[in-house]
């Protein structure tokens, strides 16, 4: 299915958000996630099913003012 990850269209076979993070190499990283602009806590990622057209945000700590 086609999804958008951080603004870029991608093809994935991952069923869940947790699987997607592993597939993209974020397995061990401390990141936070949202799907279609709703926050998905780390503890819910394994249950969060992905569907075609989903928009995923994967964020990490950065400099800020």
């Amino acid at each position: 299915m086609k999804i958008t990850v951080n603004g870029t269209l991608e093809e994935t076979t991952a069923d869940t958000l947790a699987d997607l993070l592993i597939a993209l190499g974020y397995g061990e990283s401390k990141v936070a996630t949202a799907v279609n602009e709703d926050f998905v806590p780390a503890t819910m990622r394994a249950e969060k099913k992905l569907t075609d057209g989903d928009r995923i945000e994967i964020v990490a700590p950065r400099q800020g003012g």
């Binding site: 951080n6 993209l24 990283s29 936070a32 806590p41 945000e57 964020v59 700590p61 400099q63 003012g65």
Partner: protein
């Protein structure tokens, strides 16, 4: 010392972490500033998360309290989701809430700000709203559950200083017991001193230090200005007057008729 959501800080200077020429310069600026709070953000990650981890390590070494922001968010939904992601990443209920209303001036969207503040305080966040000096908006934010306010000095990144002295003075006078941080628009240590002399509890700045030719020296300049301004406020300043009044005693002067 003022407390911010039950936390007493050793310094009245809060400092941003963006735009420094290097991580080493950032760390040195923090050391010289004595700041007790660092603002941070969340941004899209790429490459497996290494950039985030590097920054996390850097700020851990600063030994300061973190205040994550929702910088750049233009809608309530974006701001709320960003705050939720920041809380998970930084493990703090503190959030500097920005809901931007105008792309050029970066001024807050007062309506979205109040709505987002209400949602976030309902979820247990301790909200530091980036707001204007508008008194009515300030009262709405307090009604929404905010216990701290962060009125702007001037638009973000301008370095113009306190552009509405009357408005800030009026806000401070009407809400004397609310902890308030003047956030954004400060360019020089004298701007910070002026805010402290007016009775604000702290100042938050970033660009003025990060973009100075010598960020560490500027950080120390701001630290001293904040202390000087606060001392001046606490010392009960004299009233200004229009007519001159001699400070040296007239009585006993030679050649007096």
């Amino acid at each position: 010392m003022t407390d911010f959501y039950g936390v007493e800080l050793g310094s009245r200077l809060m400092l941003g972490t963006a735009q420094y020429p290097s991580p080493a310069v950032l760390a040195e600026a923090f050391r010289r500033s004595g700041a007790g709070v660092a603002t941070v953000s969340v941004r899209r990650e790429a490459g497996g998360g290494r950039a985030g981890q590097d920054f996390r390590d850097l700020i851990a070494r600063l030994g300061v309290r973190l205040l994550p922001n929702t910088a750049g968010c233009h809608s309530v939904r974006e701001a709320v989701t960003t705050a939720q992601m920041a809380r998970e990443l930084f493990e703090t209920d503190w959030i500097k809430l920005e809901v931007i209303g105008h792309a050029d001036t970066l001024q807050p969207d007062p309506f979205g700000l109040v709505e987002a503040a209400r949602i976030l305080t309902g979820e247990g966040f301790e909200v530091f709203p980036y707001t204007t000096e508008d008194l009515v908006l300030a009262e709405r934010l307090l009604d929404a559950g905010c216990e701290v306010l962060m009125p702007w000095g001037a638009p973000i990144g301008t370095g113009l200083g306190l552009s509405n002295i009357y408005g800030l003075r009026s806000l401070r006078a009407h809400l004397p017991d609310v902890p308030m941080v003047v956030d954004a628009g400060l360019g020089l240590p004298s701007h910070a001193a002026a805010a402290m002399e007016m009775g604000f509890d702290a100042v938050l700045l970033n660009t003025a230090v990060a973009k100075a030719g010598d960020p560490a020296a500027m950080a120390e300049g701001f630290a001293r200005a904040v202390e000087a301004g606060r001392l001046g406020h606490d010392a009960d300043p004299m009233e200004p007057r229009d007519m001159a009044a001699p400070s040296t005693p007239v009585l006993g002067k030679a050649f007096l008729e």
